[in-house]
Subunit: 337 residues, 2 copies
């Protein structure tokens, strides 16, 4: 099958969103004369006096960071969401707008200014997962929050303005577009089959063993069949788990190991501190979602090298996403590292 | 109303796609310490011996460009789509893929290596519109083509690898995601109201006059209420027109004037050759689509200056698009130029 996939432009269906991606494997032969990204050598300093995320430093708003030892969470000083926004409900002819309330938080992964996830001990990554758990559970108890988006932007190329390893949480009242799509598709499957769409998908992938990157007892990392970004990876628990709050200690350890291995492979792939946006999709928090199956995705932009990325522009914006290398080739490259 | 919009994080509904955008106007106060794009000074050479789009030059595949005087269209030498792909129909459990066939073309707008759309005479832009018409109509007659995507990527930041002014056409068998969404929404409205959703929307915008950038007899440019990109603009005919093939000579002239004025304003905004992806959404070509209303959109990435762009990353990829300045402020800045 893979030979045919590699020789034929085709489209693949994303079972989680109901959308398609165009795969054009022959296009890897295209010469690239366009933009080269700069690939700054990685810093090795553990403390930067000018960093607003390092311990003991003063932030823009005058607050002083504590002398934290593992993780540190604070409310984003320039968050896109606020909890006390005035009420707005605008419905005029074809124009429709409404207030969005919520909270934006920053999570420092480590006090060490240069210690990114692949550099951290598995036990330290477990502490990050525990913070995600705690935050998700606390925010779910807030009646004005119905969705908690945990994510990380890594690298200047991904709009990250500070190399200090950190992620974010944007928690809000309404449920975002991408999560609505995945809710619909998982629900349809759950109603029809009485089980988790992603659990069945993972079973199929483990059996085929063509797109698996790394497997341990309770988790698996794979390049999804419908991957959009060249080296996109999905990490998920094998058993259906609606949200991160349900993970056991053993599962947290397995999850932490997955994050460590995947991000280490990324750094090795083009011998660079690999940029990406990662995010956790899980059940919204307004009610129970029996169909949801927690998963984390990595969307990394690099395509050919540390300096040549994939542009999601013209056709991709107006039509549909397009990729060059197949998911199978990407999975093999990552697996072999 | 605009005062409230400017003071309150809110979300706005896109009537064409059914999706929401988060607007966080207070966030414009956020200091930017992240990536600065390079803003290369614009070239002024009219001929580049190394450019594979200039007249009389030889392309990678050995073909020689003719000595063209206005526009020149050829089949993309490294297209993502091919017309003769082997048949593939893969349906295994939860995996679904199928061959995609089609054709990718390149359209040179002018033989002059540095003459971008804002530099061109209106009559020369009319010639580009005529090529789009001709290509759309010819490709619609091809039974194996059901959708024709016309677009342009301008600027290295938008993945464009050659500054010679040119656009592309990707025409294919299946109908891409974005077009499906817009078909659904326009159809719903058309069935319920017996008229074009976009025509009614344009009427409302003209009456309100808060987001209009430029109006002439038959066309209008505006920043849509639900704009995602900071200076996103939509250009559309006021009367419902399913596709570009239906435009009259007068309408083509008005359309050309809109393109000239909008792109000139863009270049003036940050005093740079303004990067963007633009694209035309119109009826697919497999059957008649009485609900469709042709429109062209510009998605430009710049946010604050020629070197600071908006990143659609983490939250935007996993949740929903987010913007800082409101559509009204963007429209006013463009209108005033
Ligand atoms: O075809 P080009 O200009 O070489 O390539 C550019 O436009 C294409 C269509 O939007 C994208 O798929 C590519 O990522 C981009 O670099
Ligand atoms: O919040 P930050 O890291 O300053 O900003 C970054 O992440 C945000 C959330 O994905 C984006 O909206 C911004 O465009 C990006 O620069």
């Amino acid at each position: 099958m893979n030979e045919i996939f590699n020789a034929t432009p085709h489209r693949r269906y994303n079972i989680l969103t109901g959308e398609w991606v165009l795969v054009s494997p022959h296009r890897t032969k295209r010469p690239w004369q366009g933009k080269q990204e700069s690939s700054a050598p990685k810093n090795n300093i553990s403390y930067d006096p000018n960093c607003y995320l390092c311990a003991n430093n003063t932030r823009m708003n005058g607050e002083v960071n504590p002398n934290y030892k593992n993780t540190y969470v604070f409310k984003n000083d320039f968050g896109a969401l606020m909890s006390d926004s005035p009420n707005l409900n605008y419905n005029e002819g074809l124009l429709k707008a409404e207030t969005e309330t919520g909270i934006c938080k920053v999570i420092c992964f480590s006090p060490n200014h240069s210690e990114t996830l692949p550099d951290m001990e598995i036990s330290a990554i477990e502490k990050v997962i525990e913070v995600w758990q705690k935050e998700y559970l606390e925010l779910s108890n807030d009646d004005s929050i119905n969705h908690v988006q945990i994510f990380e932007n890594k690298g200047a190329i991904m709009g990250c303005s500070n190399p200090h390893p950190h992620g974010q949480i944007w928690a809000q009242k309404s449920i975002p577009n991408e999560v609505l799509k995945k809710t619909t598709k998982q629900q349809e499957y759950f109603i029809e089959n009485g089980k988790s769409l992603l659990e069945d998908y993972i079973k199929q992938e483990l059996k085929l063993d063509e797109r698996i990157v790394f497997e341990n007892d309770s988790f698996v990392s794979l390049v999804p069949f419908w991957a959009v970004w060249p080296y996109e990876v999905l990490i998920a628990p094998k058993r259906q788990t609606q949200h991160i709050g349900h993970l056991t200690d053993l599962e947290k350890r397995d999850y932490a190991e997955q994050i460590k291995i995947v991000t280490q492979k990324y750094d090795k792939l083009f011998n660079t501190s690999f940029p990406y946006s990662s995010g956790i999709h899980q059940s919204p928090t307004d009610k129970s979602y029996p169909e949801w199956h927690l998963h984390m995705s990595f969307y990394p932009p690099l395509l050919r090298s540390a300096t040549v990325k994939k542009f999601m522009v013209g056709y991709e914006m107006f039509g549909m996403p397009q990729r060059d290398i197949t998911a199978e080739i990407a999975a093999n490259s990552l697996k072999d590292l």
